[in-house]
């Protein structure tokens, strides 16, 4: 197992230093992993934090007392137990709690969808480029490099600015189709190091098709790697979406965590000390993305014995 980057934006995988992935022992591996997983503090912490936030995002909108965009009579209310304004209200009298849980739900949707699309594209391109050498590899490499160099955030800005009506799904799709290159690059290097192994040669000799070899022989040997990659893409998508929403390119007709921050800054919430308006959204993103990253390190330690705490 080779190094998985901790933060996709800051320290991407360098293909030149990919180590040979060990071949997992089929049956005892799972139990052993579980054994270490339950004892890994980072993994347990990250997983429970993520689950708690997910639960909150699922239940929150059910128990919220007011619709997220409705204007109530109480303006700039500090958090209170009365009227169900648990997180207070905005300058315009909207329920912050309701906005917060709606935004949290959207963050999970963007993360899962955007991260999922990016993972699928990364897998298709990475596996194909790594398995087939020659022209196909060269062409896919070129494509990866071009998308890698383009500042995709700026590209998203231009695309989103021209869309009159923006939806959360569209946002997730756009994030997905622009954030796959580092994953593709890492997977290509991984695939490359597996292709020359004996068991792959055996599969080839026995007449398996390329697709079968990739999905039945190669992919299972990096399933943990794929999972970790998805987690990082998930967290990355949430951060990108929050940044886009903050610039004013968020989905129409709903509210996201990034939009909450944008509106609070626009309405001088900082100068008016309406902290209950601008603190929760950023805190939620930080907690969610941070626990995903910590979970990722924990997983890395579970799957890679070399990294376990001494």
């Amino acid at each position: 197992m080779s190094s998985v980057p901790t933060a996709p934006l800051a320290s991407p995988v360098d293909p030149s230093r990919v180590e040979e992935p060990p071949i997992a022992a089929p049956t005892s591996g799972l139990r052993e992993s579980l054994h270490f997983a339950l004892r890994n503090k980072k993994l347990v912490f990250g997983l429970s934090m993520t689950s708690a936030l997910l639960l909150f995002a699922l239940i929150g909108p059910w128990i919220a007392q007011h619709p997220p965009l409705a204007y109530g009579g109480h303006l700039s209310l500090a958090p209170t137990t009365k009227n169900g304004y648990w997180f207070g209200t905005t300058l315009l009298g909207q329920d912050v709690f309701s906005q917060f849980v709606t935004g949290l739900r959207l963050a999970f949707i963007v993360g899962a969808l955007g991260g999922g699309i990016a993972a699928i594209i990364g897998m298709v391109i990475g596996f194909t480029a790594g398995y087939r050498s020659g022209f196909v590899d060269e062409a896919l490499n070129m494509l990866t490099n071009v998308v890698l160099v383009i500042p995709t955030f700026a590209l998203l800005l231009v695309i989103a600015a021209y869309l009159q009506v923006r939806g959360i799904m569209m946002e997730a799709v756009f994030i997905g189709i622009t954030s796959w290159p580092w994953a593709a690059r890492a997977l290509r290097a991984q695939t490359f190091s597996l292709v020359s192994r004996d068991f792959v040669d055996m599969a080839r000799l026995s007449g398996r098709s390329s697709r079968q070899i990739i999905f039945k022989e190669i992919a299972p040997n990096m399933s943990s790697y794929l999972f970790m990659m998805f987690i990082l893409l998930f967290g990355g998508a949430i951060l990108i979406a929050a940044t886009l929403d903050f610039i004013g390119l968020g989905p129409s007709n709903t509210i996201s965590l990034g939009m909450m921050m944008q509106l609070s800054v626009q309405n001088a919430a900082l100068q008016l000390h309406l902290w209950w308006w601008f603190l929760p959204p950023g805190l939620a993103i930080m907690a969610l993305v941070g626990s995903l990253y910590v979970m990722n390190v924990g997983l890395d330690e579970v799957f890679n014995p070399k990294l376990r705490e001494l």
Binding site: P5, V146, V149, P151, A161, Y162, F246, P281, V297
Partner: protein, 330 residues
């Protein structure tokens, strides 16, 4: 060496062409007509005048020509440094807006990128496999790198500027300050520059520190490190070698992280009303000033390509294997 650069140049050229094409194509692919929006904004009562104005703009922006000709003229204009005209500040060319804004963005970005990279690498290397330091750096680093750029900015403004009045809430300098190359004005600029710089620096610092820490741990587990250890080499020497090897992916990472940091700088500027590219793009988006958005996008592309090229050269200097591989092996 020539082959290496040729390859890189082909990638950069392809990237540039793709980016310019996308930049040109998006307005044509999207529903809605920017000229209609423009004419609609001027609010003319007489429909005939509106009609004439519409045709005037269609001709002015070459929108009545066949598509391939429009595309060709887009490139011609680009090489003449013509990125169109701002709709919000009507006769001002987009290039002027960009040229005015760029110094502020660069003043934030360049120090933030370089210093956070340097400090993050140093701290990360220091913390790796040192339990006490590691246990404090790791949570701290993860918290920072998971923080949205704008939220850290919001936090800093709220605590340090609005509540404690230690720093100004925003802008590049006091509106009352005399614009001159003098100490009071320069210190005023620095005073306003510090908070946006700090928030950019901190978020990137977390990512670099964690990246380096993990790299060092991998390096310390590699064969050469164990071999040195078996030979009885001092820890300091082993760590030095590990650091040098761990450095290479961090240099590559620098090029790859550029896009994210630029995104961070754009939103940080918005929080601080700092008059750089981010602030301009925000204004353009809220006012549907499309030429400015497209122009800034192109400018960012060119900047990123140049930065990538610099990183390539640095990598070549730092890693002798690339040089030898290119000269001898090939």
């Amino acid at each position: 060496m020539g082959r290496y650069f040729l390859r890189k140049l082909v990638i950069y050229a392809a990237t540039f062409v793709v980016a310019v094409t996308i930049d040109w194509a998006i307005p044509h692919l999207m529903p809605g007509n920017p000229v209609l929006t423009l004419v609609g904004r001027i609010q003319i009562r007489d429909p005939r005048v509106a009609q004439q104005l519409y045709h005037h703009y269609m001709r002015a922006f070459n929108l009545d020509l066949p598509l391939w000709k429009q595309y060709w003229y887009f490139w011609v204009a680009l090489f003449h440094g013509d990125l169109g005209t701002s709709i919000l500040e009507f006769p001002t060319p987009v290039t002027t807006i960009i040229v005015d804004a760029v110094p502020y963005t660069l003043a934030l970005l360049v120090p933030a990128i370089l210093l956070s990279w340097y400090a993050g690498n140093k701290f990360g290397a220091l913390a790796a496999r040192r339990p006490v330091l590691d246990n404090s750096l790791l949570p701290f680093g993860y918290t920072l790198t998971a923080t949205p750029y704008m939220w850290l900015g919001i936090l800093l403004v709220w605590v340090l500027a609005v509540t404690w009045h230690v720093f100004p809430v925003g802008f590049a300098y006091d509106p009352t300050a005399q614009r001159a190359f003098s100490w009071p004005f320069v210190s005023n600029l620095a005073y306003h520059w510090f908070l946006p710089f700090l928030s950019l620096f901190l978020v990137s610092f977390g990512g670099w520190a964690i990246g380096m820490r993990n790299m060092i741990i991998y390096e310390l587990e590699s064969d050469y490190a164990h071999y040195l250890e078996a030979l009885g080499a001092p820890q300091r020497l082993i760590r030095k070698y590990a650091f040098r090897n761990a450095m290479l992916p961090q240099i590559t990472g620098l090029a790859l992280a550029l896009g994210a940091i630029i995104g961070g700088a754009l939103v940080t500027e918005i929080v601080f009303s700092y008059p750089g590219l981010g602030y301009q793009i925000y204004r353009a988006i809220t006012n549907e000033d499309y030429f400015v958005i497209q122009g800034i996008f192109l400018f960012i592309i060119i900047g990123v390509l140049i930065a990538n090229f610099i990183v390539d050269i640095v990598y070549l200097i730092v890693d002798p294997r690339t040089r030898i591989g290119m000269e001898g092996g090939r």
